[in-house]
C-alpha cells in the first residue's frame, strides 16, 4: 500500500476536536497528521509501526468508523452538556481531603 493514505472530511460533520480524538484513539496503529483547510479537515495517515498488519483496504473504513463514533460522542456530549457537573456536584457535596 502507498503511504500516506489521504482523507478529506467535511469540517461541519467532523469538527477538528472529533478528528483529533479519533486520531488519538488510533495512535497505536496509525499515525495521523491532521491539518485544517477551508471547510474541511485533511488527514494524512501513516502506519505507526514498521510491521503494520492492517490490510490496506481496511484503513479508510477503520478511520471512518472512528470518525463517526467520535462524532456521535460529540453529539451526545453536546446534548448532555453540564449534566455530568450537576450530577457530580449533587453527589459529592461534603467530600474532600481531611484538613
Amino acid at each position: 500500500m502507498n503511504w500516506p493514505v489521504i482523507m478529506h472530511v467535511c469540517e461541519a460533520a467532523y469538527p477538528l476536536g472529533v478528528v483529533q480524538r479519533a486520531a488519538y484513539s488510533l495512535a497505536d496503529t496509525l499515525a495521523i497528521e491532521v491539518s485544517v483547510e477551508p471547510g474541511q479537515v485533511k488527514l494524512s495517515i501513516f502506519p505507526s509501526q514498521d510491521q503494520l498488519t492492517l490490510p490496506s483496504a481496511r484503513v479508510r473504513p477503520l478511520v471512518l468508523q472512528h470518525l463517526n463514533d467520535f462524532a456521535l460522542r460529540n453529539h451526545i456530549n453536546r446534548e448532555t452538556a453540564g449534566l455530568r457537573e450537576v450530577l457530580a456536584r449533587a453527589a459529592l457535596t461534603g467530600c474532600g481531603l481531611p484538613q
Binding site: 460522542r73 455530568r84 467530600c95 474532600g96 481531603l97
Partner: protein, 495 residues
C-alpha cells in the same frame, strides 16, 4: 441534524459512553451510564438512542429509562437517584487515607530478580526506620479521618526489623484506646524469619500475614533465589506455622508473574489449590525497583500477560465448577465495580487516584510517599514523588505540590482517552504508573500498559458475563459474594 431529533422526541439523553466490542453478536456495542449501569445494544439501537429516534413504550426504551441513559423532562427527575448511585460509587472520597504502609527496613536476605521494592544487604546500615520517624508516622496515620485503618508493614523484609514493628503496633494499640478506630495489621513478608515470639505477638494483636508464592518449587525458587536455594520450602513452612498458630486464613499469598511464569498458568494455580488458598492474585510485573533494570530478561508485552490471564481464568472457572473455591482477586474487584453500585475501593481502580488519597507510605528514610509504587521509584533515583517529611502534618502533606500534580492527572473521567471510554466507571487512574513508564503522569492511552491491561481484562469479563452459561456466571457471582459455588443461585446479570 441535532435539531430534528431534539424537537420531536419526548425524551432527553443523560450522559453515557459507548464502546464497540467487535464480538460475534448483534448487540456488540456496550453502553455505560455515568453511574455504572450498562447495556448491550446493536449499532442501529445506538444510533436511534443517540439521535432520539426511539419509540417510547418499547422494552428497550423502558430499559434505558430505568438505567438512566435517558429521561423524560417533566415526567421524572432522575437526578436524586443518580446522585445517590454516584455517591455510592465514589464513597471512598469521603474518607481520608485508610492504608498506611510502614517501610521498617529495606534490608532483605532474598535477591529476587524482579524485586519491586529494591532491597539492601542483610547487614546494611542506614536502611531502617528510626524510632522518632516511626512515632511521627503513627501520629500522621491518626490524623486521617478514616474510621477503618490498615497498618501494613513492608520492606525489604520487615521481620528483620521486628522490634520496630512491635513498637509501632504497641503505640497504635495504645493510642486507639482513645481513638476507637477499626484497625487491621498486616505484615508483608517472606516468612523466612518467623519465630514463636513473633507468632505469639501476632496472635495477641490479630496480625495478618501476606506472603509471596509464585507457583511450584521450580518456578518459585528460580524467581526468588537465596544462598540456600530453599525459598519455596521456607515459605511453605512459614505458611504452615502461621496457620497452626493463628488460623488458616491468617496468611494470604500474592503471585508475581515473570516471563517464565507465563508459560505455566495451570501449575501456578495447582500450587495454590494444593496449599489451600482461597484466592490467587495474578498480577503482572511492575516497572519499579530492580524489576525495571531486569526488564530485558523478565518483562513481557502486556498482550502476553493477557493471553496468560485468559487461560488461567478459564482454568480457575473450570476448577470452581468442580467445587474448588479459588477466586482471582483482580477479577473479583472488577466484578464488584461492574455488578454492584459500589466501588471495590482498590487503589488502582479509583478515580480520583488512590495515590495519597487512599494510601500513604512512611519510608525508612523518614519521607512520606503517596503509594508503594512512588517510593519504589525512589530506589530508581526518582525523588520527585515525595510528599514531604513524616514530621509535617497530614494536611500539609496532602496539600503538597506532588499531590496537586497527581490529582490534576488522576481523574480518569477527565483524561484523554479515558473520558470517552465506556469502562471509565469501572476503572481508575494511575498517574504514578504513567509517570514511571512514560515520564508523564497523564500518559498516552494507546501506549499505556495500565490501560491495555484493564481494557483487556474488562473486555474479557464483560464477554464472560454476556456469553457464558449459567455455571460460569455462578462462579463469577460466588467470587463477588465470597460464597461457594454451591451456595450461589442463577446469575441473572446479562445486561
Amino acid at each position: 441534524m441535532t435539531l430534528i431529533a431534539s424537537d420531536t422526541s419526548s425524551y432527553r439523553l443523560l450522559p453515557f459512553r459507548f464502546m464497540r466490542m467487535q464480538a460475534e453478536s448483534d448487540r456488540d456495542v456496550l453502553i455505560t451510564s455515568e453511574t455504572g449501569e450498562y447495556l448491550w445494544v446493536s449499532d442501529p439501537q445506538l444510533q436511534d438512542l443517540g439521535f432520539k429516534r426511539l419509540q417510547s413504550g418499547s422494552a428497550f426504551y423502558r430499559d434505558l429509562l430505568a438505567r438512566h441513559f435517558i429521561y423524560e423532562p417533566g415526567r421524572h427527575d432522575p437526578l436524586p437517584q443518580m446522585a445517590a448511585q454516584y455517591r455510592s460509587r465514589k464513597d471512598f472520597l469521603f474518607q481520608g487515607p485508610a492504608l498506611h504502609l510502614f517501610v521498617v527496613t529495606l534490608r532483605c536476605n532474598h535477591t529476587c530478580q524482579y524485586c519491586q521494592v529494591s532491597r539492601a544487604p542483610l547487614g546494611g546500615s542506614g536502611h531502617d526506620l528510626s524510632e522518632a520517624d516511626a512515632r511521627a508516622a503513627v501520629e500522621r496515620m491518626f490524623e486521617s479521618n478514616s474510621r477503618v485503618l490498615t497498618v501494613e508493614f513492608q520492606g525489604g523484609e520487615p521481620l528483620l526489623a521486628f522490634e520496630r514493628v512491635r513498637q509501632i503496633v504497641e503505640w497504635v494499640v495504645e493510642r486507639n484506646v482513645l481513638e476507637q478506630r477499626d484497625i487491621q495489621f498486616v505484615i508483608t513478608t517472606t516468612l523466612y524469619h518467623l519465630t514463636d515470639d513473633i507468632l505469639d505477638f501476632a496472635k495477641l494483636h490479630r496480625i495478618q500475614f501476606s506472603t509471596s508464592l509464585d507457583g511450584p518449587a521450580s518456578l518459585h525458587n528460580a524467581n526468588r533465589p537465596t544462598p540456600t536455594r530453599n525459598s519455596f520450602e521456607r515459605t511453605l513452612e512459614g505458611i504452615r506455622r502461621v496457620r497452626e498458630h493463628l488460623g488458616h486464613d491468617a496468611v494470604s499469598a500474592l503471585t508475581t508473574l515473570t516471563a517464565r511464569s507465563l508459560e505455566q498458568p495451570r501449575a501456578i494455580i495447582d500450587e495454590y489449590v494444593k496449599q489451600g488458598f482461597s484466592s490467587i492474585s495474578l498480577r503482572p510485573l511492575s516497572p519499579y525497583g530492580f524489576a525495571s533494570r531486569s526488564a530485558q530478561r523478565l518483562d513481557y508485552p502486556i498482550e502476553r500477560y493477557l493471553a496468560f490471564y485468559k487461560e488461567a481464568l478459564a482454568y480457575l472457572l473450570e476448577l470452581n465448577q468442580q467445587g474448588v473455591y479459588l477466586s482471582e482477586s483482580y477479577a473479583s474487584l472488577l466484578l464488584k465495580n461492574i455488578l454492584t453500585p459500589f466501588s471495590s475501593g482498590y487503589l488502582d481502580l479509583r478515580s480520583p487516584t488512590g495515590a495519597g488519597t487512599a494510601a500513604l507510605v512512611y519510608n525508612y528514610d523518614g519521607y512520606v510517599y503517596p503509594s508503594d509504587e512512588a517510593r519504589m521509584l525512589l530506589e530508581m533515583g526518582e525523588e520527585g514523588l515525595r510528599l514531604g517529611s513524616v514530621h509535617q502534618p497530614l494536611s500539609e502533606l496532602l496539600r503538597s505540590p506532588v499531590m496537586e500534580a497527581l490529582l490534576s492527572s488522576g481523574v480518569a473521567e477527565t483524561l484523554p482517552g479515558c473520558s470517552d471510554c465506556a469502562f471509565v466507571a469501572f476503572c481508575g487512574a494511575d498517574p504514578v504508573e504513567h509517570f514511571a513508564r512514560q515520564g508523564d503522569p497523564v500518559g498516552h492511552r494507546s501506549f499505556s500498559s495500565f490501560c491495555k491491561k484493564n481494557m483487556g481484562l474488562l473486555k474479557h469479563l464483560f464477554g464472560l458475563l454476556r456469553d457464558t452459561d449459567d455455571d460460569v456466571q455462578r462462579v463469577l457471582l460466588s467470587w463477588l459474594n465470597r460464597r461457594s459455588y454451591a451456595d450461589v443461585g442463577l446469575a441473572g446479570y446479562r445486561g
